[in-house]
């Protein structure tokens, strides 16, 4: 074996390829790959780009629906929302960059998902975030990550003029080293404005738009996103990209104008694996080849190697294809928006990806090898033989009074008011927001300027603690819970996006969590008839201390009949009857109370009866739509009594309640139970458990607390840490 071969083999391991994968590359190419080719292959064959451990599993998810306009495979999925309008949306992770450098990691997470959405021709109209950190009370590192990640999200979203309308945050020990930052974006476009990323038309011109290409983010997809975190991760900081929302704002407006004027054949964002991924995906989808000339690419610094240019993850860049006669107009629009635009290559026949540098081909390989030939691995799932997670430090002993228990739950980091966080985000820019954070269970946005314009609702959910208990039911619950949030504002679900945040899939117990969770998601989507239109998988979320809680995060978008009747979560009127809706049979397994008692996340979760859950969602949705219900709130973390407290706090009014016999006041069964209120006549057919009245929450035989005391507890929970 020659020395050059052995050093190259070593190189493939440094780049994250296995020996088997490297052997496959030799076989496919029939020769040794060049440096640039190997760098490109290592990224395209990484878990992050190639989905090699998850692609087969994801086939299980239902994707069909009359309303689906774009399904998985495009930059974002899209559904029909009526009136000729489409909403495109997707959630994506930026976990490892955020764990290494939280401000830029979170900021560029937002920047990336925005580009995914305007890449399909939709104007971004809303962002939501799903965040996970370690316990803020126990860890300075967790407080630092929380503070900087929230600041980074605000920095990007606020500056670019896209409202952050919702989200969720949970704190658990298992996220201490490996925090999760998932960002979801929704965009709006007329149906005929949606554009796909497939390059077409040999002879057409490839144009790179936006920021200069630099050395930031090199190897982000392979080095950071497709390996476990460990010691010495500070050294990976250079792999984190730096965001510039101002450049992206100009890029966004510029791309939307290019599409408005119908100047483009296709458009694609540059995300993970930079130009390599963007260009090869475009070529693959169009069944064409591409030739790129690296000397044309504007660089941030001189002397960059060809492989660096090809894998750079510099932010705020887009790639588009235009016919030769349109190029002048394209460049003119870009000039007006002060967006750099450079022709860097052309579309070719024959399906080869050629990269030229100073006239020499530094890469010349079939597009299919990059995109389609990434080996797929079967998971080898088996349930864990021992418990994977231990309990948190106990906050309660179990001997507290119900009132003390309630106050402790309201103060707990997972239930306390999110105000200190959401006040750092602009939820109203673009003037569409009808329900802001803390007003309702889901955000509501109107899509036109008129009161009778179509409106949508959106929510994002996932409870890792419950998935840790029972991956299949816990994942299904995330779907039920998210749909329940939509029902509370009167919306019917149209489509779902998901981000699967799991540990190392090469470990059988993680493979089992992943397999079970996908099955649970699929079951719940089938029950509720919600198609999955896109998503993202983030694996290798492990620190030396072990894997994170398995955390499937789901975002659901739905449609409202009338924005003026969008539901609220707060009780509204003195004298209204309070109803309990749904097959709500809560238990303490995986609950917040169990956590506060120091119990580990183990135990079987209650089963879900499909038809009664569906009926409950319909009842609440129809009650809100007809105006019969004055409020609706899904019973989630902390159970019925916490949910009642939230309705009282949001409405600034008390309630007198008698709990049904045998119902655990703090037990949980997410997505199956709702608190609603309305006139006693309107609630004739409901299970009535009390009345809206006074300034106290009184529960027969259990507790009697002033609403102000409940509010104080809930408001103070996070202010200490944020």
């Amino acid at each position: 074996m020659s020395s050059s071969t052995s050093s190259l083999e070593k190189r493939h391991r440094q780049l994250g390829l296995t020996d088997g994968e490297y052997a496959r590359i030799l076989e496919l190419l029939g020769r040794t790959p060049g440096d640039v080719e190997l760098a490109m292959l290592s990224l395209m064959w990484s878990e992050h780009c190639g989905y090699k451990h998850s692609r087969q599993l994801l086939r299980r998810l239902p994707k069909e629906g009359r309303q689906v306009l774009m399904g998985p495979g495009e930059n974002a999925g899209a559904v029909d929302v009526g009136a000729g309008l489409a909403v495109a949306f997707k959630v994506e992770s930026h976990n490892h960059p955020s764990a290494v450098e939280p401000f830029q990691g979170a900021a560029t997470g937002v920047g990336g998902i925005l580009r995914d959405v305007f890449a399909v021709g939709a104007r971004p109209i809303a962002v939501l975030d799903s965040l996970r950190f370690g316990e803020p009370s126990a860890s300075g590192r967790s407080r630092y990550l929380l503070d900087r990640a929230v600041a980074g999200i605000g920095h990007y979203g606020n500056s670019i003029g896209v409202p952050t309308v919702g989200g969720e945050i949970y704190f658990e020990d298992s996220y201490e080293q490996n925090c999760l930052v998932n960002a979801m974006c929704l965009g709006l476009a007329p149906h005929d404005r949606l554009i796909r990323s497939a390059a077409a038309g040999p002879g057409n011109v490839v144009i790179l738009l936006g920021a200069l290409t630099g050395r930031d983010g090199i190897g982000g997809a392979s080095v950071l996103a497709s390996a476990e975190l460990g010691e010495g991760d500070e050294a990976k900081r250079p792999s984190v990209q730096i965001g510039d929302p101002f450049t992206e704002k100009k890029l966004l407006e510029c791309c939307l104008e290019l599409l408005d004027r119908e100047l483009l054949v296709s458009l694609q964002d540059l995300g993970a694996a930079g130009l390599t991924s963007a260009a090869s995906e475009m070529a693959s989808k169009g069944g064409v080849g591409l030739t790129l000339d690296l000397c044309q690419i504007p660089l941030r610094e001189p002397g960059m190697e060809p492989f660096e240019i090809m894998v750079s993850e510099s932010q705020e860049r887009m790639l588009c294809v235009a016919t030769p006669e349109r190029v002048g107009e394209v460049l003119g629009v870009c000039e007006r928006w002060e967006v750099a635009a450079t022709t860097i290559g052309c579309v070719t026949e024959g399906g080869r990806f050629r990269v030229l540098h100073r006239g020499v081909a530094v890469a010349d390989l079939p597009v299919s090898v990059l995109v389609d030939d990434c080996p797929l691995y079967d998971l080898e799932p088996s349930p864990p033989v021992a418990d994977l997670y231990s309990g948190s430090d106990a906050v309660l002993t179990g001997s507290e009074s119900p009132a003390q228990t309630l106050l402790a739950l309201l103060r707990s980091a997972n239930i306390a008011s999110r105000r200190p966080v959401f006040e750092q985000y602009d939820p109203i820019v673009q003037s569409r927001t009808v329900r802001r954070p803390d007003e309702a269970d889901a955000a509501v946005l109107t899509l036109g300027g008129r009161a009778d314009s179509p409106a949508i609702a959106v929510s994002i959910d996932g409870n890792g603690r419950r998935v840790a208990c029972d991956p299949r039911r816990g994942a299904a619950e995330a779907v039920y819970e998210c749909a329940a949030n939509l029902a509370c504002v009167g919306a019917e679900p149209l489509g779902l996006t998901n981000c699967l945040n799991f540990g190392n899939p090469e470990k059988s117990h993680v493979a089992w969590q992943l397999t079970e969770a996908v099955e649970g998601l699929a079951e719940a989507c089938d029950v509720l008839g919600i198609p999955v239109v896109g998503g993202n998988v983030s694996l290798y979320n492990e620190a030396p201390t072990g894997p994170i809680f398995p955390t499937p995060v789901v975002g659901v978008v739905g449609r409202l009949a009338d924005a003026r009747r969008a539901g609220r979560l707060g009780f509204a009127r003195e004298g209204d009857a309070i109803g309990l809706v749904g097959p709500f049979e809560p238990s303490l397994a995986g609950s917040e109370l169990a956590k506060l008692l120091g119990r580990p996340p183990v135990g079987e979760l209650p089963t879900v009866q499909a038809a009664p859950v569906r009926d409950a969602h319909d009842t609440v949705r129809n009650g809100i739509r007809s105006g019969a219900l004055q409020n609706a709130h899904d019973i989630a973390e902390g159970g019925l009594v916490v949910a009642l407290s939230e309705c009282c706090i949001a409405g600034g009014i008390g309630a007198s309640v008698r709990l049904p016999d045998g119902l655990d006041p703090f037990g949980e069964a997410p997505g199956r139970g709702f608190i609603v209120s309305g006139s006693p006549a309107a609630l004739g057919g409901f299970v009535v458990i009390g009345t809206v009245a006074g300034e106290r929450l009184r529960i027969d035989g259990l507790l009697d607390l002033a609403v102000s005391e409940l509010r104080d507890a809930r408001e103070r929970g996070l202010t200490e840490w944020v």
């Binding site: 670019i160 002060e338 602009d426 109203i428 820019v429 673009q430 802001r436 003026r564």
Partner: protein
């Protein structure tokens, strides 16, 4: 009555301001690189992050080509309304007294606040009553109004403080709870709260509309009449 809304690179609330103004009159966008105000009766410098707010909010935007025309328009008595980033731009341009400093919290703050109307004699608050409370959202990182004590005394005495945060509603540490000030002549007004985000019952408040209605009434009575 025709409003013009300036659009800088990085403006975010430009379309919001355009839509709000269009509820009471005609409204057009004014491109930052043009030297043309298109014959508008009032100019709105909107919120957002012009030029990324890099360097200092408003510091770059004040040099945009269109600002030369806006300054001249203001000097000649035309109505100029600066909202949030627009307020910062007008202070940087020297059209308004004082400066906006980083919030005491050093963080971005979004909040629905109440502001009290202090004076109703000028063109921007004529449709309000003295001591009326308006529910209008704020959203900014750099909104703490500052001017030297003597200047604040002078502004108050001259009736240039048009809006104040209601007790307990000051979100940023602004001196003397100043939420909005006008120039000496009264035709240029800047405020940190976003009246264009309080114009539709779907959004929760329509109090902000009164600022735009005041401007229309003034123009119709004094300019177009």
């Amino acid at each position: 009555m025709k409003f013009g809304v300036v659009r800088f690179p990085g403006s975010c609330d430009d379309i919001d301001a355009l839509q709000a103004a269009a509820r009471v009159g005609d409204a057009v966008l004014l491109w930052h690189a043009d030297h043309d105000l298109q014959g508008v009766d009032a100019v709105i410098v909107p919120g957002g992050f012009s030029y990324g707010d890099y360097l200092r909010p408003g510091a770059i935007a004040r040099f945009a080509p269109v600002m030369a025309e806006v300054e001249e328009f203001g000097r000649e008595g035309g109505l100029v309304l600066g909202i949030c980033n627009g307020f910062q731009v007008l202070c940087e341009a020297g059209l308004l007294p004082g400066a906006l400093l980083p919030n005491v919290s050093l963080k971005f703050v979004f909040r629905q606040v109440e502001v009290e109307v202090v004076s109703t004699t000028g063109p921007f608050t004529g449709a309000c009553g003295v001591a009326d409370r308006l529910s209008i959202p704020v959203k900014h990182t750099t909104g703490r109004y500052y001017a030297p004590e003597a200047e604040l005394d002078r502004l108050e005495a001259a009736g240039q403080v048009l809006l104040r945060y209601a007790p307990g509603h000051n979100p940023n540490g602004s001196l003397r709870d100043v939420a909005g000030v006008c120039n000496e002549r009264g035709n240029v007004f800047g405020l940190m709260p976003h009246p264009e985000h309080a114009v539709d019952p779907l959004g929760g408040s329509t109090d902000g509309l009164r600022i735009f209605e005041s401007m229309r009434a003034h123009v119709e009575q004094h300019v177009l009449a």
